[in-house]
Amino acid sequence: MTANSTTHPEVGTFAMARAQWRWPEVVFWLTAAGCILLFPNRYLILTEIAWLALFALSLDLILGYAGIVSLGHAAFFGFGGYAAGLLALHGIVTEPVIALVVAGLAAMALGFVTSFLVMRGSDLTRLMVTLGIALLLRELANRFSNITGGSDGLQGIEMAPILGQFSFDIFGKVGFIYCLCVLFVLFLLARRIVHSPFGLSLRAIRNNPLRASAIGIPVNRRLIAIYTIAAFYAGVAGALSTQTTALASLDGFAFDRSADLMLVLIIGGTGYLYGGLIGAVIFKLLQELFSTLTPQYWQFWIGAVLVVIVLIGRDRMHRWAMFLPRLIASKFSRAKTPVVAPESEAP
């Protein structure tokens, strides 16, 4: 016991290895920033991709890391969207960044309250409960049209300049940069969360909740925590959508939105943070492509792509896509840490 009480130096190194930045990540974010210069005519769709990515990141936190399925994640998106719209419309909080945080916190509070409903039951119950919550909120928003504008949505929102400096322009350049910055900051936070002991315990819970509690992990408390955090993310995504389009509508709560979100995450893959981001890019580009090719049947093609993805399997596609980058990477870095082979024992 005393012989090894000093830290084995490799333990810390290996434990931190997972959290290290890898070059594809750097390339990803540089490319995202490069879009500001590369596509000056496409800011609107880029902005949509940015907040959709944030929204999908939120779902990934609960689905990919904690294993909570949800068909009603739009509840928080819509809630955050209306919160941001009302704050701006009534001049309660005019500065967009502060309003964004407030809207996120409002969605977070809703997430905390509803998390207790989601803790119970199996995946199927969770699907139904989350779906139900989103439908309920949509109808409430419809009913209290004096506050929400009903089916017309909140109109006449005027956005103040960001930090009092940068006004939203008609081309959407400022809006896109704003969304991208928010996405990046919240991504960094999510990255921090998933590589912490808390994040590791979420993976343990998703894999085997019974085992997790036998290690001493308070399963329900952790699930409530991540569900609440994810609600904040979704609320911020909704608020971004309101702030950049100057509109909040009942669509925010729509079932389609929750279902599309699931598609986005399935396309991109769960449980590695980039799935939601990559999924959002692919989903929006496919939607754009198919809706110009066949305006009436674009959903057919989205469906077809989804079926193909499931049939081929994302692991295999990932391997194909990463074949060349891996080959290049392995050529450049031959210096790998030697791994001690396990003792050879007859099986």
Partner: protein, 250 residues
């Protein structure tokens, strides 16, 4: 002598089936106690009752004199009651480092830390290194658990439980399914568990039971049949009857 773990008139029924009958069990601090019994005797149910997976219909469970009957699973672990699993319940895609790190983080109170990265706390790292070294897992600490030889996985199972720093450890068939060549490693790991940890061994394998235990309880049909030191239990005609199937009268 102090009692580490005690059950008082524990009862559990599933529908009309009484699977645990009036079970009163006392395990002394520091003991190497074995719980044996034929298939279907209700050993697994006892573990589930002790760890809190199942709630008893009546009766109480005391850990070092404190009533833990109403506590959920994870709180019992934090109080010092841990278990190993008979069938592999490890995380296949996590490394031994991460698996032991989870348990150590929770034990040291850092489990809900969502800001600092794994590997940046020296107390957790020390605990990980100590446990991996004790169970000869340092050389494979960065390999996914699913790729480890089965014997190593069984060792990891014990290492995780020990990383929660238990006062009482429930060992559920630690050597089950381990190939003969790796069996010795498990037995020596079990034999060299810290003496201040009280161990309740649930086992089928009589060689292991009689080499390890200083006290044996025999469970039959959910009720305690015999309890005593190994030689006494081995001589008991009722135990022989149960195990050899002669005139099963209980």
């Amino acid at each position: 002598m102090t009692i580490a773990l005690e059950t008082v008139n524990l009862e559990k029924s599933f529908g009309g089936l009484r699977v645990t009958r009036d079970l009163s069990l006392k395990i002394e601090a520091g003991a190497r106690h074995a719980l044996i019994g034929p298939n279907g005797a209700g050993k697994t149910t006892v573990i589930n009752l002790l760890t809190g997976v199942l709630k008893p219909n009546s009766g109480r469970i005391l850990l070092e004199g404190n009533d833990i009957t109403g506590l959920p699973v994870h709180k019992r672990v934090l109080r010092g009651l841990s278990r190993t699993f008979q069938i592999n319940q490890l995380y296949p895609d996590m490394t031994p480092l991460e698996t032991v790190g989870l348990a150590a983080s929770e034990h040291l109170g850092h489990g809900s830390d969502w800001w600092r990265r794994m590997g940046t706390r020296s107390d957790v790292n020390d605990a990980i290194a100590e446990n991996l070294a004790r169970f000869h897992l340092l050389d494979v600490m960065n390999e996914p658990t699913a790729t480890l030889p089965y014997g190593k996985q069984r060792l990891l199972e014990i290492a995780v439980a020990i990383a929660t720093k238990p006062r009482v450890l429930l060992l559920d068939e630690p050597a089950a399914g381990v190939p003969e060549s790796e069996r010795h490693d498990i037995l020596s790991a079990v034999a060299s568990l810290p003496r201040d940890v009280t161990v309740l061994l649930i086992e089928h394998d009589m060689d292991l039971v009689f080499s390890f235990a200083d006290r044996i309880s025999v469970l039959v049909a959910g009720a305690m049949l015999v309890e005593g030191p190994p030689d006494e239990v081995a001589r008991d005609p009722r135990v022989k009857a149960v195990y050899l199937g002669e005139g099963a009268d209980v």
